[in-house]
Symmetry: C2
């Protein structure tokens, strides 16, 4: 029955954390399964996924170059860890289930692919032939497919479900773009018009299609219509109609399709999860049940043993509370209905609301309860105290905006800092410190950490200045940022703002899943982008006097908008730069200037890379993000 408890605990644990891995039920397999789910094993896997992904920082083209031998050895080590983890999983789960799961097959293919690629690349390198490390694109596969990242897989499933519907809308949209491009060719192609830059206007069909696609993203509006509009205002109607249909109507339809699918999919997922949870709890019940009168139940002793195993951290009083809820008539056993609820009960945070005396009151009650002290405390609790500090913050804001180099302003900063520290000390004196710094008191934590960090940074800055006459720019920058962040506190004073902020803060955890998704997509595009464009554009500072500085080191960029906009820093010469370029492409504005720059240094086909990025990131992912915010605000606000 120890083994029964072990198995039942595994089921309850899975139910509690919504884990859905089918595992063998032999005691040995269950122990292996518990080991598989141990946090240290998961952390190790994530660590090596992180190492594997960050190899791109050290591989050519590198931010910090390392020899190929070093990076390839590190990669082989990562692959070994991934393989080990996969073997562990294979031992836990039934064999036929293992090979039916796409996740595992993806990992196997990625491992094999990477090995083959490493061998070929290494062999060619020894023969001094440079080839392409194509398998690097596969690295995010590990991040997505290991069992611990079920949040991001949920988003991928959501994308896969949306894909068929969005494809039809997209095809109709592209058909319409092609049609309007044809019209533009017929209307303007034979007129010998010129764009603002002096190139021919609407003469080549493929270029028109790209320009019209860019117009959907609004990035070349209104420039694209100026030459036609100069002839007659009637032609501007052509472009306005185009923008209304494509930018407003179609883009909203994309959002609508994504949003509807997101909602539908969310509902399905929730239903499925609830069903799986219940099924697992019933399995656990069936293992532990004994017959009591007409019904099957779980005895109190068994139940307590189970809870101890599943949640070893909770206090005895908390466990007693759970038992009281599960066995409300104190019959000495838990019936099926109550037992099934256990997984949810364990997820409820129980906060011990003991009104504790202030430590100072225990330590020196006479001083703490004296008239002066009580007066001080009631003053701090008064609304006027908050208002006073709101006024101080506003005055502080003005002082921040004033010139730093005035010594008076510089001293004022010390005054403000002392005032803020005084405030925190007064509050800690007045309120019970453990309640003041409770987990839920976001703003107290925020305030205190900002003030302490500002204090440390300001002192450090002053020290550096007085000892070495040298202002460290980094420290100074941090001081500035912290100083301004302090002003954020005023938001907490106004109730409506607090509500909005709370909703925004609650949204953050799920936003991290989107961060992960964006990382995956960016990583793949960055690797491809680096292979395509590395070294084609070089970075020169805006004031550089090098001969090719004005064309970013590539004569093909002469007179291009890319070079005129001083965009040399936007290149694919290392992972970091690539990520920043991709961010700029996500923001959309000027993406056609970036795209045209890379087209000029390579080939017209490079446009496909940038269009693909726009379709994947802006049309799909940004819309999913918006859908998620819409739903979150519908639920929370």
């Amino acid at each position: 029955t120890q083994q029964d408890l072990l198995l039942a605990a595994a089921y309850v644990y899975d139910a509690q954390y919504n884990r859905n891995i089918p595992f063998e039920t032999s005691p040995q397999a269950v122990r292996l399964y518990n080991l598989y789910n141990h946090w240290a094993m998961q952390a190790t896997t994530y660590f090596f996924i992180f190492v594997d992904l960050s190899l791109a920082v050290f591989e050519d083209p590198a931010v910090y170059p390392l020899p190929f031998l070093a990076t390839s050895l590190a990669e082989v080590l990562c692959l070994l860890v991934f393989f080990g983890r996969l073997v562990h999983f294979a031992k836990v789960t039934p064999r036929n289930v293992f090979w039916k799961d796409t996740k595992n097959i993806c990992i196997v293919i990625a491992i094999l692919g990477t090995l083959i690629d490493l061998i070929i690349y290494g062999a060619l390198k020894i023969s001094n032939i440079n080839s392409v490390r194509w398998s690097r694109v596969l690295r995010p596969v590990f991040l997505i497919n290991f069992a611990e990242s079920h949040q991001i897989r949920k988003v991928f499933r959501s994308i896969r479900n949306t894909l068929p519907e969005i494809t039809y809308v997209f095809l109709l949209f592209m058909f319409s773009v092609l049609m309007f491009s044809l019209m533009a060719l017929k209307l303007f192609g034979d007129r010998n018009l010129q764009t603002v830059e002096g190139s021919p206007y609407f003469t080549n069909y493929l270029e028109i299609v790209f320009d019209m696609y860019v117009l959907v993203t609004t990035a070349n509006s209104p420039d694209i219509m100026i030459p036609a509009y100069d002839i007659s205002w009637l032609y501007s109607l052509f472009f306005i109609t185009y923008v209304v249909i494509h930018t407003y109507l179609f883009m909203s339809v994309f959002l609508a399709v994504v949003y509807n699918n997101y909602k539908k999919h969310l509902k399905n997922e929730i239903c499925k999860l609830a069903y799986m949870k219940r099924r697992k709890m019933v399995e656990a019940f069936n293992i532990l049940k004994v017959k009591e009168g007409p019904e099957f139940v779980v005895k109190e002793a068994q139940w307590k043993e189970l809870v101890k195993r599943v949640a070893p951290d909770i206090s005895t009083s908390h466990r007693e509370l759970l038992l009281r809820v599960s066995d409300d008539e104190q019959k000495g056993y838990v019936d099926k209905k109550s037992f099934v609820r256990l997984a949810d009960l364990l997820n409820i945070q129980v906060i011990a609301m003991k009104i504790q005396a202030h430590p100072l009151e225990n330590w020196m009650p006479r001083v703490y309860n004296s008239a002066a002290s009580q007066c001080l405390r009631s003053m701090v609790k008064h609304r006027g105290f908050v208002w006073t500090y709101d006024v101080i913050i506003l005055i502080n804001a003005i002082f921040i905006a004033l010139d730093e180099r005035n010594p008076l302003i510089s001293y004022a900063e010390w005054v403000f800092l002392s005032l803020y520290i005084l405030e925190i000390l007064l509050k800690v004196y007045t309120y019970e410190p453990r309640a003041f710094f409770a987990k839920t008191q976001f703003w107290n934590w925020f305030d205190t950490s900002i003030i302490i960090a500002a204090l440390v940074a300001t002192v450090l800055n002053t020290l550096l200045k007085s000892t070495s006459q040298y202002n460290s720019q980094q420290v100074l920058d941090i001081v500035f940022i912290l100083r301004v962040l302090r002003l954020l506190r005023i938001v907490d004073s106004i109730k409506r703002f607090r509500v909005i902020m709370t909703t925004l803060i609650n949204v953050v955890p799920t936003m991290l899943t989107f961060g992960e998704l964006v990382l995956v997509v960016y990583y793949m595009f960055a690797i491809i982008g680096m292979e395509l464009f590395q070294g084609k554009i070089q970075f020169f500072n805006m004031n550089s006097t090098a001969p090719l500085a004005l064309v970013c080191g590539n004569p093909a960029l002469k007179d291009s908008q890319f070079a005129q906009g001083k965009y040399c820093v936007n290149n694919f010469n290392d992972l970091l730069s690539s990520f920043i370029v991709l961010t700029e492409l996500t923001v959309v504005n000027q993406w056609h200037t970036l795209a045209n720059g890379f087209v000029l240094v390579t080939h017209q086909a490079a446009k496909l890379y940038f269009m693909a990025f726009h379709i994947v990131v802006v049309i799909m992912i940004v819309n999913i993000f918006t859908a998620f915010i819409l739903e979150a605000f519908y639920v929370e606000y």
Copy 2:
């Protein structure tokens, strides 16, 4: 009892068309009320509203200038009509209700304001002093507040309901923008950096705020971050964080707030309308009811009289059908429950689905039913027929893209046109013409009208060319557009496309309400914009050699991006140009270039005009439009 019928008919009519005007119930008032609702009266009002609005085309700064006397006389005439309409309404509705209605007060104020403005402006003009015709801003008041435009008032109510909540989010958003601007000032202000154009980078707080606001709209991304990013990639994180918080998070929150309010408001409106409709039908019932056994009912004769009055156009058989539905047990009377449903029953379109013989079959049955004819008809009905024409359309698309001047291509166009005409003739021969051209057959109507228009335009173009050797560009442009539009037909062949298109077409009527809303807002901003900026920027063609052509006639624009982008055509020198500029501002891209241009020729404060436009149109109206599309697709698709 004739008077009872009159009153009851008025109630039913109001219920049927969701009209909610309280009116006096004396027979004379009801007759006046019916006159008030007569379509000719409504059309007259709309006509004069249109005349009043379009006066701006003829007033200085005018597209087509007319003397002040002419336009002011026309305006007085319009005001008289509006006043007459208002008096008519006052006669119909109870006095205390009339003066409690904001609509009427708005109209009275607008009429008085316009009169006062006209008198002052006229008097000053006689003394040769030019003043501002400020009352022109009030003109859209008439469009909004006359009782017939309840759709647009619904949108305005929706905006008013959303306003408080969106204001709080907006204040928080602006607070955050101000904070980040302060950070930017501290981080970059003292570094002597320069923008790409060579002006100082982030040194003036107010200018930073504007630049950071522009960054939210993404219009100056990535240019704004390039100088800082050139120093260190860490500074790019500042801008990326800013964009993520403001462009992605806050803008989605704006959409979420608008969408949630829209949904809530829509539900309330629908409930209210249903309640009002029921109440009016009960009023009508109470007027006509007689006691029949234990319950009150309306006798069949009375009921028929009522329907004849309310819907004089429907056929006797249709009326009999309605009666059969309302009195399903043929008891000779209609009870309350059935009577209340009458308003909805009248709104149901009854289509007479008679399978009629083809007129040709009646006219010459032997020919039409001969073997050859039947073979032809079954050929047209075959799927291969549709496919053949799909292939023809695709080939046609290629021919359109080829060069017009090749005579072979030019002849091919005649071939295609004949093929399309042949198709329509064959279809009309095969299918019953009245069914083929039924109201619901959107694509048949579309096809036929496009082909006939193309035929007329092509013939016209050929005639012009052969008689005068002169190609009329307008006719040629229309020929091109029609030729390409023909390709749209292929959409109808693919089922999934047809579904999306149907949804889009169903959305059009409500989009017209948005068109009206946009017209109102554009009109107000255009009038203000013309007063502020007229004549400050002049239009010169891109190839003009006039001395000030490169600076759009204003030396203040020297070296500005406005002049470099050849934006001279974007000015507020007449209503038409203003509307196109405002459209460009709605599309957002480059709006800061436009704004900076107008700032250079006037004053920094002009930025407020452009920011106000962005807040009203992009943050409010575009989001409402998106919300509407989201909801429409949720319901329809």
